[in-house]
Every structure is written in C-alpha cells, then in structure tokens.
Symmetry: C2
Subunit: 342 residues, 2 copies
C-alpha cells in the first residue's frame, strides 16, 4: 500500500451541531477540518467525489428512534456517497477502485468496507450510482414492485414524480404495463415527467386542485399510490382510491420540517371504505436483493426504457443550501453534491 496521506492532508467535514427546528440552517452543522490519517488494518480510505442529498437526511437529524439511529451531535453528517479508494488495508478493496457507501458529508471517509460496494464508471456515469442505480432506484423498484404490487392495467400514481424516486417509480409502472400518473410542482417538471419520462399524465400541484385532478384523470380510482410527500397530496390520493388499493408509504417530505408537528391524513378511513392498505417500506430491508434490482434497472437504462436525470450542485461548501433545494422543490431528478473531480 502506498501512503497517500500525511498529516498535511486535511479532511473538511460537516458535523451535526444542533437538532433543527423546522428547515435546517447552516448553523445546525459545524464546518471544520481534521488531518487525514492512514488506514489501520481492515480499513479503507475513500476520497469522496459525490455526496447524495436525500430527503431522509432530514429525518436522520432528529432525535429519537427511527428505522436507523439518529446522527449524534458532533458526528459527521450521514450521507451516501461515491468516491475513489486512495488507500486500503482491506483485501476486498484496492487503491483506485470506485466505490459507493455511507461516506458522510466530508472529503475523505475512513471506512471498514462493510456496506460499501464497487461501482464501474465505464458502465454508467458516477452520479447514476447515487440515483437510478443507487438507493433511490432500489427504493422505487422494491417499493413499487414488492410493496405496491401493481398488476398490468393498474393506475399507479406517484408524488414527487420529477424526483429521484418518483421518476423511477412511474417509469417502472409503464414498463409493467400500468398507467402512470405523476404529481409534481410546476409546468417544467410536469413536462419532464410526461415528455421525457413517458408518464401518461402529470398533475401540477402548484396549479391544480390535486383531488379534483385525480378524480378527472382516474375515473376508476387509483390502484397504487406511491407516496413521497404526505400532507394534502396524500389526502387527495386517499380520496380517490379504487377498491383494494395499496398506498406505499415511502416518504413525507411535506412534513419533515414542520414546526407544529406532523399531520396525519384526516381521511384515512378511506382505507376501510375501499378495503385498501397503507404499508410502509424501508429500502435497507431489500439489501440482499439489490443486485437483482440493479440488473433490471441497468438493463432498462441500456435499452432506453428508463431515463434518469441528476441535478448536480458543485462545492462541499454549498452543502446546507443544496440540501434545502429538496424541500423547496428546486431540483429535478436526483440531487447530488459534487465535491471533487473524478
């Protein structure tokens, strides 16, 4: 192993400093630097190239029990990333390998290799491994197919349709012979969803009454609703269920920054009226089957049946403001922070 770092190489990092009340602010993190050390036995040093910005990160900043432990105060902000191995004392990884894993919002990650996997920039550009070939793609794949269980001819509605997960959900629905209806904010996103991604319809929640629009465009009700947003849009979907509908609870981005507490869907008794169900899902449960999903997704990508866009913001310094783009709905496609050149 070549020594690639010395005490003069610095690792710049965002560490969690406070638990946000409402939208996160720059002051909820401390931005500092520390020397990069050499890997110990079994360790791998990764130079982070791309940091994934995901709505789930907001939840990880909260105290209390969830599907993963919260980020501790003082800890490097948790984030998935793609990087290059610059030093390894782990036989599974070699210097020069491109890898994806839980690297955090920092320039260098020292990891034990668990949960990290190699990615191939010759097969797909690196940002794709954070989007359609990464967690968002896996979430869409298992959330729709395993949890939503669409049948050919079903009407599948997805919110956040121009986002990293929603865009894939609707395209897989089309591949599976369903009718795909997106919900997104603004004409540009809706055009992207229908023209570029091939959804049958897209409802602009900023311009339309979603409940009425769903009523008009899903006369027989919706069979699957894949929810990324919660709030009023979840209620609109509940009001338009077909019998035996499945509502996949994947996220609730409209609620994550509420300072008055989360709001539940007032009309949840529609589940009874329509003999519907509302299962929650967490992608990590499907880790043993990621390869199966990745093979399908890569195949559809190669065949042109699946399209994916990334929205790339440059500069580690910009992390706090870039993360907020998710909540203001500024990004189209997978939001990625680029912090180093390949």
């Amino acid at each position: 192993m070549r020594q690639t770092s010395d005490m003069s190489t610095l690792n710049r990092q965002y560490r969690l400093a406070a638990r946000p009340d409402g939208l996160p602010r720059r002051t909820d993190w401390t931005f500092g630097e520390e020397p990069v050390r050499d890997p110990a036995d079994g360790e791998v040093l990764v130079k982070v190239i791309l940091v994934s910005l995901d709505p789930a990160m907001r939840g990880w900043m909260n105290e209390g029990k969830s599907y993963v432990p919260p980020v501790a105060l003082g800890e490097v902000m948790r984030a998935i990333g793609v990087g290059r191995v610059v030093a390894s004392r782990n036989p599974k990884f070699a210097e020069g390998d491109f890898v994806a894993g839980m690297f955090g919002v920092q320039e260098y990650a020292m990891v034990d290799g668990k949960g990290m996997h190699r990615v191939d920039p010759a097969l797909a550009p690196l940002p794709k491994y954070l989007g359609v070939l990464g967690m968002p793609g896996m979430t869409a794949y298992f959330g729709l197919l395993d949890v939503g269980k669409p049948r050919p001819g079903d009407t599948v509605v997805v919110s956040g349709a121009a986002g990293a997960v929603g865009s894939v959900v609707g395209q897989i629905a089309k591949i599976k012979q369903c009718r795909a209806i997106g919900i997104a904010g603004g004409k540009a996103k809706c055009d992207y969803v229908t023209r570029d991604l091939g959804f049958d319809e897209c409802i602009d929640y900023k311009a339309e009454d979603v409940r009425r629009a769903l009523g008009e465009r899903c006369k027989d009700g919706l069979d699957v609703y894949f929810d990324n947003v919660g709030g009023a849009i979840l209620e609109a979907a509940l009001a338009r269920l077909a019998l035996h509908a499945r509502i996949v609870i994947c996220g609730a981005i409209s609620q994550y920054n509420s300072t008055t507490g989360m709001k539940g869907p007032a009309n949840y008794m529609s589940l009874l009226v329509h003999r519907a169900s509302m299962p929650g899902m967490v992608v990590f449960d499907y880790a043993a089957r990621y390869k199966e999903a990745a093979a399908d997704l890569a195949g559809w990508l190669a065949a042109g049946k699946l399209k994916a866009r990334e929205d790339i913001v440059a500069g580690l310094d910009n992390f706090p403001e870039a993360l907020l783009m998710l909540f203001s709905g500024e990004n189209t496609g997978k939001l990625v922070l680029k912090i180093a050149e390949e």
Copy 2:
C-alpha cells in the same frame, strides 16, 4: 298464508329527517306511523323484536360515498334486527320463522328476503344473533384472522375491548395462542375484559396514559392492533408497533361525531419505521364465509371459550338516546334495543 295485518295495524318507525352535525339528536329523525300492508308476491313481513345499535349507523347518516350508500332523508333509519315472520309470500320463509336482516328502526319490516337468514332461538338467545353470532362477531372473526393475521405468540391489542367487536377480537386472539391486551374506558369495563373475558391485560384509557401503558405492557411492541376508535388511541398504538405490525382499521368511533372534521394519526410514518401496514376492512366482503365463522364462534361459545354479553335497552321510543350510549361509552357488550317480546 294467513292474513296477519290489516289497515288497523300500525308500524311505528324512525325515519331520517336531517344529517346530524356532531352527535345525533332526537330531531334528526321523525317518529311516525303508517299502516302495515300485506306482503306482495315474494315479500316477507317481519315483526321486529330486537334492533341492533352499531357505531356504523352514525356513518350511514352522513351524506356522501362510503362502503354502503347513505340512508336517504325520509328513509327508515337503517339497522340490523332480529324478528319473526308474521306473513310470507316468499317460499324461503314461513310464518313463525325467526330471522335476522336489515330491518330498520321500526316495528314491522317488509322485505324481499335477500340477505335475511333464519336464526334458531333454541341454539342461542336471540340477542346473541346481533352480537357474537351476528355482524360484530363476523367483524371480529374476519378482521382479526383474515386481515390481522395473528401468529401464535403475537401481542394483539384491541380498542373498544368491552364492546361488541373488541370483546370477541381479544377472546379469539387468546384462542389462537396470542397475548391479548384490551383498551377500554373505566375500571368496571377493564375488570370485565380481564376477569370475565380472559384478556391478559386491559388498559383504562380514562385513567392511564395509553402510550405509556402500551410501552410498559408490550415491551416488544404490538404485532396486531385492531382499531375500533381512531384518534389518540390509534396514535398511541402506532407509537408502539413491532416490526411488520398490522393495524386493522375497523372503526373510528372517537371521530364519527367530530364537528371539526376527522383527525388522522399524526405519527402514521411509524408504518414506514416499522414496515407495518394499515389495512381497512368491511365485514360485508366476507358474506360468503359467514357460515364458517358462525360455526367456529358457536362452537367456542358452546365450549365456554368465548363469552358475550348484551346490553339491552327496552322500547322503540328510546332509540335516539340508546344510540348515543355507544358514543358516551355507556354500554358494555353488544348494545341492543328491544322493541317487542319474542
């Protein structure tokens, strides 16, 4: 066929006069009388003995789409009942038959026999056919076993545990080797649930913090929650789920009379955290299998494994006030209005 009625026999009836705002009031019905006519070909005239009082009746009084059409203004108030055939021009039913069906809140029902079935007062007292051997029993049976899918050793929690449905849910849970925890209001009901019905525990929501009590008594979380009440108790249950828990949405009695709109469970994202699901159920879907359930329930009753109590109020005149007992929690067991002698 003997003529059993003439224009001098009067049928006293409650007809829906207004759609209630909040708790129903006596003025939401008109109490009138009309002559009883003779059955036409295919019809059956039933003298109603018992009227079932059910929380669902509140929902039937509202306008708008639900799992059954609303009761129309001017229509006899819908209710399940038990009665005796006093005249029949339908070959399936004979004078003297005891029958159960959708007879309405009235002294005589003229029906076509569809959905009506014979009951045997020699096998079980008539009120049982409105409770444990009627819709509440069927609801408990299919809601728990088919929708909740409990496995031996599971912790099953049920609200409205001293009520017609909840009391049967917990006892079936015990029969199926589960741990049964009830939630009910007041010491007398809780004592009934644990001492008479054999639940393992009962939480008194009037005296205890339900969320804390569930935390203490279900250390490993609850596997099945059978919800009859909605509101804060549903939220308490959501806060205490085990992984892959099932929340059976059967009713929401705490919400039916809200004048400020229904309230959804604020912490529904617990479904995601715990990979849980929240299916709704309507007992009418299981009509083809009622006999299967009735055989099991009657067998358990006969074997002393299942107990059922009815709370019987006498007098058709008392219908409006008797119905309200459901919402104030005054009844223990199945609430029945007795309007004639057998």
